[in-house]
C-alpha cells in the first residue's frame, strides 16, 4: 500500500516529467522499475520477456507522458500500459500455441531455501510449477485482477481505475480467480 506522500511526490515528478524534465522522468523510472517488473513477471513469467516488456512499458510511458492529463493517476496510467503490454504478449503466445510457462523452468536451487534437503527442494519446485501452471491458465483479465489484488495489495477501486472497469467487475473477476485457484490447487488440502 502506498501513502499519500508517495502519491504527492509521484504527482510532482510526473508533472515535471510531463513538462519535459528528463531528470524527473529518470527518477520515475528508477522508482517504478521494481513494481512494474514484478507486475509484468507475475503476468508473463519469463525473466527475459519481463525485462523487454518492462522496458517497452517505460519507453511508451516516456513517449506519451506529455499527454497524461491527471498526474495524480500516474501510477494507474503506468500500470495500465504494463498490463496491456503483458496481456498482449500472453495472447500472442497463446495464439502461437506456446504457453508462457518458462517461469517453471528455473533451477530448483533458486526456489528452495538454503539448507533445505534435496527432496524438499524438489517438492517445492514441483509445487511452484503447479501453481504457475494454474495461474497461467487463468484468463488474462482475471489474472491481472488477482495479481494486482494479491501481490500488490491494491483495492478494488484502484484496480478498477487501472483496468477502466467497474468495481463490480473487479470483484467478479477476483471471485472467479479464487474459485479457479481453489478448485485447481485444493487437492492438497487434506495433507495440511
Amino acid at each position: 500500500m502506498r501513502g499519500k506522500t508517495d502519491e504527492e511526490n509521484d504527482a510532482a515528478l510526473a508533472e515535471r516529467a510531463r513538462n519535459g524534465d528528463s531528470e524527473a522522468l529518470g527518477e520515475l523510472v528508477v522508482r517504478y522499475a521494481p513494481q512494474v517488473s514484478a507486475l509484468v513477471y507475475q503476468h508473463v513469467g519469463d525473466p527475459e520477456v519481463t525485462r523487454d516488456i518492462s522496458q517497452t512499458t517505460f519507453l511508451k510511458a516516456c513517449g506519451r507522458i506529455s499527454g497524461l492529463h491527471d498526474v495524480q493517476r500516474f501510477r494507474a496510467w503506468l500500470f495500465r500500459i504494463a498490463i496491456n503490454e503483458s496481456v498482449e504478449h500472453i495472447r500472442r503466445e497463446r495464439a502461437q500455441k506456446r504457453t508462457a510457462l518458462r517461469i517453471a523452468r528455473v533451477p530448483i536451487d533458486d526456489v528452495a531455501e538454503p539448507g533445505e534437503r534435496p527432496i524438499d527442494r524438489l517438492i517445492a519446485a514441483e509445487e511452484r510449477e503447479r501453481v504457475i501452471g494454474v495461474l497461467d491458465r487463468l484468463p488474462p483479465r482475471q489474472r491481472s485482477v488477482f495479481v494486482m489484488r494479491h501481490f500488490h495489495g491494491m483495492s478494488n477501486q484502484e484496480i478498477a481505475d487501472i483496468l477502466a472497469c467497474s468495481t463490480s467487475t473487479v470483484k467478479a473477476n477476483m471471485s472467479y480467480a479464487l474459485k479457479w485457484l481453489r478448485e485447481k490447487l485444493a487437492g492438497d488440502v487434506d495433507h495440511e
Binding site: A38, P47, R64, G67, R80, V131, L181, V189
Partner: protein, 177 residues
C-alpha cells in the same frame, strides 16, 4: 446449510481473506454453522498459501536494475544529426556559389579590353575555382561527419536502436485509467 447465507458468504469471502471486512461477526457465525463454507474458506487459504510459496512476489534479481539501465540509456538526448548535416551541406554549397558568382562578376568587369573573349575564359576559370572550392568544403564536411559518427558510436547512441513508439495505440484507454 442456508443458500442465502452461503451466497452472502461467497460475496464477502475475498474481503474476509484480505482482512477488509469491517464486521466479521455474521460471517464467522455462518462459518461455525456451515461445514461446506468452512471447507471453501480453508481450500481458498490453502491455495493462496501455495501461491505465496511459489515466490512470485518480485521479479528475479537484477531484472529491475536491467530495466532501469536499459531505459535510461535510451532516454539520453540524441543529437539531431541528419537535419543539421544537410543544412550544413546546403549552406556550404550556397556560400560557394555566391562567392563564385560575385568573383566571376568582378573578374569579368575588371578584365582586359576584349570583353567577349575574356569573359568566356574568365567564366571557365571562375567555374573551375568554384568547383574546387566546393569540393574542398564538402571533403571538410565529410571529415567532420566521420568524427561525429565516431563520437556517436562511442556514446552507444545508434539511431537504429531507438524504440518505435506508437502514440495512438491504447491512448484512449490509458488516458481514461
Amino acid at each position: 446449510m442456508n443458500d442465502d447465507a452461503c451466497r452472502g458468504f461467497r460475496e464477502r469471502l475475498t474481503a474476509y481473506i484480505y482482512g477488509e471486512l469491517a464486521d466479521t461477526t455474521d460471517f464467522e457465525h455462518h462459518l461455525a454453522d456451515c461445514p461446506a463454507c468452512r471447507q471453501e474458506l480453508e481450500a481458498t487459504r490453502h491455495a493462496l498459501a501455495m501461491v505465496d510459496r511459489a515466490g512470485l512476489d518480485d521479479a528475479p534479481d537484477g531484472i529491475a536494475d536491467a530495466v532501469v539501465s536499459g531505459v535510461l540509456s535510451k532516454l539520453r538526448p540524441t543529437p539531431k544529426r541528419p537535419a543539421t548535416r544537410w543544412l550544413n551541406r546546403v549552406a556550404a554549397v550556397a556560400a560557394c556559389l555566391l562567392v563564385g558568382t560575385i568573383g566571376t562578376w568582378i573578374f569579368v568587369r575588371t578584365s582586359g579590353s576584349d570583353p567577349a573573349t575574356n569573359s568566356g575564359r574568365g567564366l571557365g576559370l571562375a567555374a573551375r575555382a568554384v568547383s574546387a572550392e566546393g569540393q574542398s568544403v564538402l571533403r571538410l564536411l565529410d571529415e567532420l561527419e566521420a568524427e561525429d559518427d565516431i563520437l556517436v558510436q562511442l556514446l552507444g547512441e545508434k539511431e537504429t536502436e531507438q524504440p518505435h513508439i506508437d502514440p495512438n495505440r491504447d491512448q484512449k484507454g490509458e488516458e481514461s485509467a
